[in-house]
């Protein structure tokens, strides 16, 4: 029985190589073929920008055109009837209109497998633990972070249970720091815990405890804290600096700093970039990450900031094979943790120029 090239891509540890594996190019070819069949306008775009040649090596992959993220937020691709959508993930919409990502079953399962592989490869889910999610309950939202992390946690046998500490209510996100504190305290009595979710919510819970006179809440050995998104303000007035948070969380929960990790990702991309114990965001081998100068379309020199471009051949229900994001990032090699996988260094998001001008604004900013 032959393995689908896209599934083959997910076999093994994704951080053992300094770049995409030999499975990557066949997977890109397969994924591109399917997308071009399903989305004629996308096929025309690829043909116009890269010609009709087949993808046979990494250079061809690099030459493929990327969809720019603002396009995905403003233009909807018509889905063929033959693609049964099982879930429509959304982005948070913190930077404008949210993206809607329609996924069929196989694309969703690959997305979950990819995240699980990254967690495994970086020892996030080692040993039995109970998950306390500082995320919106996926029963109340379609936000990609909640839905995919939920699926990963529920598919992981070591995770004894998942409790959601926030939910999307009619008036917006609903989160009670006091209830969260109670849930963490009770779970910690039962054994190691994984606190996962928005750092602002975790910081909100810590703040509530501190205000009530609790200087620390030691978590059992083997516990971990995994944050994602939400460094911008999520709770009103609560914006968090990542370094400060790491120190604060490690001290308050009395876990080693290496047990406090962050992940970087976006709903349009099935790959998530998880910090290793040294605090570096590693690029898994099923993804090609590049920092691009948008003027030339070429990669910037190593270490310099460009726009983050991601090629991840895991979604076949929507043209997300190669996207150019509005995140600034650099890429380097060589992490003190010893993993050979490249390191992504996020440098913030681009901002649109605000001309104070007599020219009438009939324009849209970078979304």
């Amino acid at each position: 029985m032959t393995t689908n090239p896209l599934d083959a891509l997910l076999a093994g540890c994704p951080f053992d190589t300094p770049g995409p594996t030999a499975h990557f190019v066949p997977a890109v070819r397969e994924c591109l073929g399917l997308l071009c069949q399903r989305f004629p306008r996308y096929a025309g775009f690829v043909r116009q920008r890269a010609g009709a040649r087949s993808v046979t090596d990494l250079e061809h992959v690099r030459a493929l055109p990327a969809l720019f993220l603002p396009v995905l937020k403003n233009v909807a691709f018509d889905l063929p009837a033959a693609v049964p959508v099982t879930v429509r993930l959304t982005s948070s919409g913190t930077t404008g209109s949210p993206s809607v990502i329609p996924l069929d079953e196989v694309s969703m399962s690959r997305r979950v497998a990819a995240m699980a592989a990254s967690y495994r490869g970086l020892d996030i889910l080692t040993g039995d633990m109970e998950a306390l999610a500082f995320l919106l309950d996926p029963a109340t939202t379609r936000m990609a972070g909640s839905v995919v992390i939920d699926a990963v946690l529920r598919s992981t046998p070591q995770v004894r249970g998942v409790t959601y500490l926030a939910r999307m209510g009619p008036a917006g996100p609903d989160f009670s720091p006091a209830q969260a504190v109670a849930a963490v305290t009770q779970a910690a009595r039962r054994g190691p815990v994984l606190l996962v979710g928005y750092p602002a919510l975790i910081a909100g819970a810590v703040q509530a405890l501190t205000r009530s006179g609790t200087a620390s809440l030691p978590l059992p050995e083997g516990s971990r804290i995994l944050t994602g998104g939400g460094w911008k303000s999520f709770l009103p007035g609560m914006s968090v600096d990542q370094k400060e948070f790491r120190q604060l969380a490690a001290a308050f929960f009395q876990v080693p700093p290496a047990a406090v990790r962050d992940m970087f990702g976006l709903s349009e991309c099935p790959a998530v970039f998880v910090q290793c114990a040294s605090g570096s965001y590693h690029v898994p081998s099923f993804a090609l990450a590049e920092a691009i100068d948008p003027e030339t379309g070429l990669p910037v020199p190593e270490g310099e900031a460009g726009l983050l471009q991601l090629t991840v051949p895991l979604t076949t229900s929507y043209p997300l094979l190669k996207i150019l994001t509005t995140d600034k990032a650099g890429l380097t090699q060589g992490c003190p943790c010893g993993l050979p996988a490249p390191v992504l260094v996020p440098r913030g998001r681009v901002s649109a120029a605000r001309f104070e001008t007599c020219a009438m604004k009939i324009g849209r900013a970078v979304a």
Binding site: P70, P294, F355
Partner: protein
């Protein structure tokens, strides 16, 4: 000198000072003001210290060549003879603010008076805005308060400094203040609303909205955000026209109200051939003009914005993108219809096919209130027809291709001569004809007329109408 008022009272005091200085300025004959401005122009000749300083200060947002061209234009415009002619054209006569002018019967007399203190809220996109505002106010003998944009380069304050240097008599410079404060400081904005005898708002929608006429004591003049448009008519020599249009696109980087951000191209046979030729040719011409008006390097954020403009036009408006390879020096977008979004800046032009020039008023109807300058590229014989359609569309200025922002004074600005808006016209009727009281003493009118003619010392209308807070 730049004034940064901290409190409303500080700003109110400044208005009081300007009002007193304005009363002195009102008594200065126009000839003296013209001479001063002429002297000011000589301080800005190429190679002068001010010129050199401004070039260093301004080369960044705009190309050095554009800055030099603008400064040459400024120095030439400040020539006393040029200004005298412009004043005559705009105000109808050169001595409008200096003397009462009797009518043919010697009974009707007309004279203009300054409004008092004119506050200008400046835009940051074109650095000459402050200099133009200052010249307009002084030519009408108004004291002037310039509120800088947050994007101001420093040029306006430098220009004000040069005025103080040129003002040997020390009468004009005290009637000028260059100020800066955050536009969000409502307490200071409110002082301007209450104190300014006239308020001229240049620039974006937010600035216009901050100073509505019904909340301001004085006359309010809004030069709000505008959509610049180009029109290329079939039959014009394409190569020359496109080279000239490329100049207009590049000069102010498509950030001025006169910048032709939408270019309509006549497509008489509906083949799309001429619009396509125009888009390709304009792109090539923009490469060419880049050697004279070099595009500045873009930051990563700016490049991202240009890419966003291009890609959204491609996907959402089905535009074809014309640009130099691996360069964001300019972008020409050939769109099948008027795009939903029209970009600002980055030498970006949307080329739109136009079946018939007569369709223009209808196509531009949604933007009618925002139309000001149309740049026209047409064979001479088609100008009258094309201008007629542009006027019906709502444009108040038609510039030949290559001249979109070449003039400061002497033509109407947004449908009116700018200087006229800054003058209070006053008439004196000494009475004549069958409706006049028949028992009036003979010779009274003639005596008053003689007294008015003898008293030609200029005076300010605002001196009797100053704010009680001043």
């Amino acid at each position: 000198m730049l004034v940064q008022p901290k409190t409303p009272q500080e700003l109110r005091d400044l208005f009081g000072h300007l009002r007193r200085a304005g009363q002195l300025l009102a008594s200065v004959p126009l000839a003296d003001i013209l001479a001063l401005l002429g002297g000011l122009g000589s301080l800005w000749r190429p190679g002068s210290p001010y010129h050199r300083q401004a070039c260093v200060m301004l080369a960044g947002p705009f190309s050095l060549q554009a800055v030099e061209a603008a400064l040459r234009g400024l120095a030439a415009s400040l020539d006393a003879r040029v200004l005298a002619a412009e004043v005559r054209r705009e105000l109808g006569r050169g001595d409008l603010l200096d003397a009462w002018q009797p009518d043919e019967m010697g009974v009707g007399h007309t004279r203009g008076f300054p409004l008092g203190v004119v506050a200008h809220v400046l835009a940051g996109n074109v650095f000459l805005g402050g200099a133009v505002a200052l010249a307009q106010s002084l030519l009408t003998k108004n004291a002037v308060l310039l509120k800088l944009s947050r994007d101001d380069s420093g040029f306006t304050a430098l220009f004000a400094r040069s005025l103080a240097e040129a003002d040997a008599g020390g009468v004009v410079a005290p009637a000028l203040a260059v100020c800066a404060w955050d536009s969000g400081q409502e307490d200071l904005n409110q002082v301007v609303r209450e104190e300014a005898d006239a308020l001229v708002v240049w620039g974006g929608q937010a600035a216009v909205a901050a100073y509505p006429a019904d909340r301001c004591r004085g006359r309010v003049i809004h030069y709000g955000p505008r959509l610049g448009v180009g029109l290329l008519v079939h039959g014009v020599g394409l190569e020359g026209a496109l080279a000239a249009l490329a100049w207009d696109v590049a000069l102010w980087e498509q950030r001025a109200c006169s910048s032709p951000r939408l270019l309509f191209v006549e497509d008489p046979d509906a083949s799309g051939r001429l619009p396509r030729q125009a888009a390709e040719g304009l792109s090539a011409a923009l490469v060419g003009v880049g050697s004279r008006l070099r595009p500045r390097p873009l930051t990563l954020d700016e490049k991202s914005e240009v890419l966003s403009i291009r890609e959204l036009a491609y996907w959402a408006d089905r535009a074809q993108v014309f640009a130099a390879g691996r360069s964001m020096g300019h972008t020409v977008l050939l769109t099948p219809a008027v795009p939903r979004e029209v970009a600002i800046g980055y030498r970006t032009v949307a080329v739109v096919p136009l079946a018939n020039v007569a369709d223009l008023p209808c196509l531009l109807a949604p933007y009618r209130g925002a139309l000001q300058t149309a740049v026209l590229a047409a064979a001479p014989g088609r100008w009258p027809e094309a201008v007629g359609h542009l006027v019906r569309a709502g444009f108040t200025q038609v510039a030949a291709a290559g001249s979109a922002a070449a003039r400061f004074l002497g033509l109407p600005h947004e449908g009116e001569f700018a200087l006229r808006r800054l003058v209070q016209l006053v008439g004196i009727d000494l009475g004549a004809g069958p409706l006049t009281y028949p028992g009036r003493e003979r010779g009274e009118a003639a005596a008053v007329a003689a007294a008015l003619a003898a008293c030609q010392r200029p005076a300010s209308a605002s001196s009797s109408a100053t704010s009680t807070r001043g």
